[in-house]
């Protein structure tokens, strides 16, 4: 029997992987994918709770999240392409001129 705990645990694991990915990877696209991973981990817990609580609100929120993620993917990829055109790299350690 798969209980709510399993879903939450999976969601937490996915989220943590996403966070760690954001923190330790250098390729902007990979970081981007990690962010998507975090978003989807959250989606997973939304759906799980919606099912568990027998409420439609959680599922409704997932749609919002997906919409935001789609918009973010469009903008984010566009930025990455623009950066790549300028600096010929997507290594974020090389994109560090916004500092003191």
């Amino acid at each position: 029997m798969i209980t709510i705990t399993h879903y939450i645990t999976l969601s937490a694991i996915l989220f943590t992987i996403g966070v760690i990915g954001v923190l330790i990877r250098r390729n902007a696209i990979v970081i981007f994918m990690c962010i998507e991973l975090m978003l989807n981990a959250v989606n997973l817990s939304f759906v799980a709770f919606a099912h568990y609580l027998n409420s439609m609100q959680g599922q409704l929120f997932v749609f919002f999240t997906i919409t935001v993620a789609a918009a973010e993917a469009a903008v984010g990829l566009a930025i990455i392409v623009a950066v790549f055109r300028n600096k010929e790299t997507v290594n974020i350690d090389d994109i560090n001129i916004m500092k003191w």
Binding site: V22, L23, I31, I92, D93, N96, W100
Partner: protein, 641 residues
């Protein structure tokens, strides 16, 4: 008739406003006409007021007119109200009368000065302020007048402000007067605290009703503080140093402000507050002692000065000392009488010296004068009358008033006061005739440049001289011993509700039981002695002064340098104040205030410097901060439960 008293104030004010605002665009004749006309009209109204007052019986000669309510705050009330009584009506006559003559004189004296309209604007403003001072019926309004005459004095001493010495003298006068005014202001506050009113009549009646005993500490303190104001304004020891320097102003200003009217404000104030003063024997002693000391001290300095106006300035200080001596021994009438005669002859002497200076194209050093009596005969004759009057030769004005002071200082005071005053009288006769001889007699020492332009002054200058000479001659008859008109006239002010047996000081109009006629002979003899000494030294043996000054070199130096009082004050007060100010500037202002403001800015800068290092530019770090922040919040939330 008494209701017109407000007009006395109004005319000079109108004159000030017209000349101040549009005087620049008017012709000189118009400016002069407006200024003189304003004072002349004011003088006429003063006469009307004076005779209006005379119609009342002596005891009912007190009239108050409230123009509007000025300040009302809780129990504190000050009205813009005028008071007409024998004292103030006499004062407005002196101020407007002498002021009018001096205004006319100024038309001639200032005729080619480029600040002509400015001069008359200030002069009218001064007259207005002085009239406000003497007409006010409460201490606060009097204080306004008091400060305003100080302001006009400042403006007029510094009239030729391009000259460094003039602007310095103006500053000095202003600052020294502030010291005295500080005391005056404190005195007024104490009066309000004590009596809960600042109205003259109310204060003076509550003094007697509430039974303040003689020598009460509060009264002594009040009177001493008021006297402090008087020493500043009336140039008494220790605050007299500004008056000699004030001679930097135009000569008619010296005549009007620094001889005839403003400097007598202190005497007027003490006479006005006589009810308070007689209650404090200690203050009376202080007033009399300072008056006597100043009379002698200034007279000795006057003996050796070479600047014609400075001699007159020290003479003024000395004569003011006499007035304070008179007030201090309780002879307020004698003080006011001397104030009046002094206004006549000292205005005459100053205007006369102005005429001499005018004739010599600006020369003020008596060593470069001499033998002028033939070239400027009218000035000489009038000046002679003034000199005789101040020296105290009967029957000229100065004799009666000075003799009365000498007499009172002996009968009401003591022998020391009398001998100091007599010695000062001797010196007065000496230095005034020294001045006369050096200026008008002997051989001419005028340099040829000035000699070419030597001329008698125009009519509008000699006419006031003549009138003032006439007043100096007849002025004294108002106070002939035994039948003294001025005594009877002023009696209601000075022998008021208080009966002064309790204070041991006698006010009132009766003469002492001494020998008035013997005293007259003595004081005349003193004056003649002084004159003949001057005659011996400056006419008979002109080389004698030089020999004497070499023989008594130290004394001479000491007197010539005015006892080094200015230098001593510089060391004691001026420099310490300056040093204190530098300390305040460097440590308090630049150090603490600027330091704390700048310090806060620097602190913020330092923190920013540290925290900006967080902006590494690495996305990873920012993400890390966010994660740490999130974890922190989550932990807090969990712990909060």
């Amino acid at each position: 008739m008494l209701n017109t008293v407000a007009l006395v104030l109004l005319f000079p004010l109108i004159g000030t406003i017209i000349n101040g605002l549009i005087g620049k665009n008017l012709r000189k004749e118009t400016v002069g006409c407006i200024a003189c006309g304003a004072i002349g009209l004011s003088f006429l109204v003063s006469i009307v007021v004076f005779f209006g007052l005379l119609r009342f019986p002596p005891d009912a000669r007190l009239f108050e007119k409230t123009l509007f309510s000025w300040i009302e705050s809780g129990s504190f009330k000050a009205a813009f109200a005028l008071q007409v009584d024998p004292l103030s009506s006499l004062m407005i006559l002196i101020v407007t009368g002498v002021g009018f003559l001096i205004h006319i004189y100024s038309i001639g004296y200032m005729h080619n000065d480029k600040g002509y309209h400015r001069y008359f604007c200030y002069m009218n403003l001064f007259t207005f302020s002085m009239l406000l001072l003497v007409l006010s019926n409460n201490f606060l309004l009097m204080f306004i007048g008091w400060e305003a005459v100080g302001l006009c004095s400042y403006l007029l001493i510094g009239f030729w402000f391009e000259k460094k010495s003039a602007s310095n003298a103006a500053k000095k006068a202003f600052v020294v007067n502030r010291v005295g005014d500080f005391g005056f202001a404190l005195g007024i506050m104490l009066i309000f605290l004590t009596f809960h009113t600042i109205d003259f009549t109310e204060v003076f009646s509550s003094v007697s009703n509430e039974g303040f005993h003689a020598g009460s500490f509060t009264i002594t303190l009040i009177t001493l503080l008021l006297f402090m104001g008087a020493t500043g304004k009336s140039a008494q020891i220790p605050l007299y140093t500004w008056l000699p320097d004030a001679m930097e102003g135009p000569t008619p200003v010296s005549a009007l402000i620094h001889a005839a009217t403003m400097v007598t404000a202190g005497v007027y104030m003490i006479a006005r507050c006589n009810v308070l003063y007689v209650l404090s024997p200690f203050t009376m002693t202080v007033v009399a002692s300072i008056g006597a000391a100043t009379a002698l001290f200034a007279a000795t300095i006057g003996l050796v000065q070479n600047d014609i106006k400075r001699v007159l300035a020290y003479s003024t200080i000395s004569q003011l000392g006499y007035m304070f001596l008179a007030c201090g021994v309780g002879a307020f009438t004698a003080g006011i009488f001397h104030l009046m005669t002094h206004a006549f002859f000292k205005a005459l002497l100053f205007l006369g010296s102005g005429s001499v200076i005018h004739a010599l194209s600006g020369e003020q050093d008596m060593r470069k004068m001499g033998g002028l009596r033939h070239q400027i005969p009218i000035t000489y004759k009038t000046f002679l009358i003034g000199t005789v009057a101040i020296a105290g030769i009967p029957p000229f004005a100065g004799f009666f008033s000075k003799d009365e002071i000498l007499l009172e200082s002996l009968t009401r005071g003591n022998f020391i006061y009398w001998s100091i005053a007599s010695l000062a009288a001797l010196f007065t006769a000496f230095y005034m005739f020294r001045l006369l001889f050096m200026t008008f007699h002997g051989k001419s020492r005028v340099d040829h440049h000035a000699a070419e332009h030597l001329h008698e002054s125009p009519k509008n200058m000699t006419l006031p001289l003549t009138i003032l000479a006439g007043l100096s001659f007849v002025g004294g008859f108002l106070g002939i011993p035994g039948a003294s008109a001025i005594n009877n006239f002023l009696a209601p002010v000075f022998s008021s509700h208080i009966h002064t047996e309790m204070s041991g000081i006698h006010t009132g109009s009766q003469h002492g039981e001494g020998h008035p006629y013997l005293m007259m002979v003595i004081s005349t003899a003193i004056a003649i002695a002084g004159i003949s000494l001057a005659y011996q030294m400056y006419i008979k043996k002109p080389d004698l002064p030089k020999r004497l000054s070499e023989r008594f070199h130290i004394f001479y130096k000491l007197l010539l340098n005015k006892y080094y009082i200015d230098e001593i004050y510089d060391v004691l007060f001026v420099n310490t104040t300056k040093k204190g100010s530098v300390l305040l500037w460097k440590y308090i202002d630049a150090g603490m205030i600027d330091g704390s403001v700048n310090g806060i800015a620097r602190l913020v800068g330092w923190f920013s410097n540290v925290f900006r290092l967080l902006q590494t530019g690495y996305v990873r770090n920012y993400a890390f901060y966010i994660v740490v922040g999130c974890i922190f919040i989550i932990v807090l939330t969990i712990l909060g439960k």
